[in-house]
């Protein structure tokens, strides 16, 4: 069913990762991704993988959920792997038409795929352990310095909050409309392209109408509560860093130093 997706879904819980400050999580994630791509060393990859596994374990999120978030990327992963396998020059293992399958290519392809998997897995961990509200609040605070340059940090954060909030609602709505039109004998997703495209109209029109209706209601409700953008707006729950966050930052810095050390001393 359409509503069975897990992508970008908050997963309430009380693990260490859940309790960390969202801002800290975002910044650490940023440096972790940097480490994945900058420190190109087999030992570093191994350590980074171990780090990701440890983080998943610590978050108490079922590993199946993390795997599910990788699933949509499966084809891209396979594609990059195959391209690498055949295009990197090196010791030829076998020949397919004009392509050479090389040992180096397989290793390279594997490493690139691994980096992508780590990137997605740890990013999705951030989504799983942070409520959308916290996430967008944190982004707003992190981007606040750019406000002086005219960057609409608050507006973007608010837009993201609303979008995240309404994705499940709209999916549910779509599911319901599809079922209603199916019950009226419409064969959705069958036939050739033109027929298929035409059968989308009975779904898209009600969906857009309901989206606009919701948007209007939301705008009215926000206005009724005197919302007028980010200027002078304060928070009900100010974000505060705790001991746990400083501990996490400390551990992560040590981890980065060790990684860099390995990269410098063992250039494999």
């Amino acid at each position: 069913m359409l509503t069975d997706i897990t992508l970008g879904q908050y997963f309430p819980g009380n693990s260490l990762l859940h309790r960390m400050d969202a801002r800290v999580k975002i910044v650490l994630l940023f440096f972790y991704i940097l480490a994945i791509f900058v420190l190109d060393n087999n030992y570093c990859y191994a350590l980074n993988t171990a780090f990701a596994l440890a983080a998943i374990k610590m978050s108490k999120i079922p590993p199946v959920m993390v795997l599910k978030s990788i699933k949509p990327m499966w084809w891209i992963l396979l594609f990059t792997f195959i391209i690498q396998m055949f295009t990197i020059p090196g010791e030829t293992l076998c020949k397919l038409w004009i392509f050479n399958l090389t040992y180096e290519g397989i290793v390279r392809g594997f490493i690139i795929a691994l980096r992508l998997v780590l990137l997605i897995a740890v990013s999705s961990l951030l989504m799983f352990t942070t409520s959308p509200l916290m996430l967008t609040d944190a982004l707003e605070i992190l981007f606040a310095p750019l406000k002086k340059l005219g960057f609409p940090a608050h507006e973007l954060a608010m837009m993201m909050t609303i979008a995240l909030r309404f994705i499940p609602t709209l999916l549910e709505e779509t599911d319901k409309i599809i079922k209603a039109q199916k019950s009226r004998g419409s064969d959705i997703g069958e036939g050739n392209f033109m027929v298929k495209a035409k059968s989308m109209i009975p779904i898209l029109v009600p969906l857009f109408i309901s989206a606009f209706r919701r948007a209007e209601e939301l705008a009215m409700a926000m206005e009724a509560r005197s919302y007028r953008g980010g200027i002078g707006r304060t928070r009900m729950k100010a974000m505060r860093m705790h001991k746990l966050d400083f501990l996490a930052i400390g551990i992560f810095i040590i981890y980065l130093i060790i990684l860099s050390g390995i990269r410098i001393c063992m250039p494999v």
């Binding site: 199946v64 959920m65 209603a180 019950s183 004998g185 419409s186 009975p202």
Partner: protein, 289 residues
Amino acid sequence: MSIELKDISYVYMPKTPFEHLALDNVTITIPDGSITAIAGHTGSGKSTLIQHLNGLLQPAAGTVAIDGTDIWQCKDKSKVKAAKRSVGMVFQYPEHQLFEETVEADIAFGPKNYGCSADEIATRVRDAMAFVRLDYEKYSKRSPFQLSGGQMRRVAIAGVVALKPKYLVLDEPTAGLDPQGREDLLQRIRELHAKEKTTIVIVSHNMDDIARLADKVIILNKGKVAAEGKPADVFKMQEIIQQAGLEVPQITQIMEKLQQAGLSVNSDIYIMDKAVEAIAQAVRGRSRC
């Protein structure tokens, strides 16, 4: 002939931590020619259950047979399609599914999909509009989005009635309507049942509506069938009804109170006329002695 659900279970979001068993081993029969009411608290699985009646949801376990055709096992595709099409479905807030430019075109959408001829479609649209009491001359060329909520609901219901289903399933059709509109709609449903011999399945929270309409009641509680049977028999099971988060019809409640106060009336009465009669009789009997 009837719709038979046997040992149906349905799980939302299987194999995720959000897994939710919405239906648990449900066995029900919708007898031909009946008006069956399905009642239950919010989240008890009513909407999930009725979506099994025309194959919109596939049960994780159990069988669904429409007039003897097992819609998930039968190999004959056209037979399954015909079976599914004999069940018309009016969803909760059906006005949200309108999309055409005119009322007429929207009601014609279903019959067109079913492959009816142009003449046939035209008569069906007229009949369906007459059925929901929408004046053809006045409304057929209007945009459905310029109508009031109640009128939009009528258009949506007409769109399903125009399919001339043998079984008509309605999910809370009276939700959000004013008392007049509610009464009106129930009257239309009764008429459809009487004139066209359409079998009706109606989902409702409102036990008073059910009391006046249904000849069979199914009470759902947390995905399980808590009670099934004739209204008089089901309304007697006060405890089960209350456990399911519902209330017995007001008339039954009044009769109960009268009985407790010492008036010799039966408490299994749930229709206004019968109640009046019973009370009158009891009062007369009392004044005599």
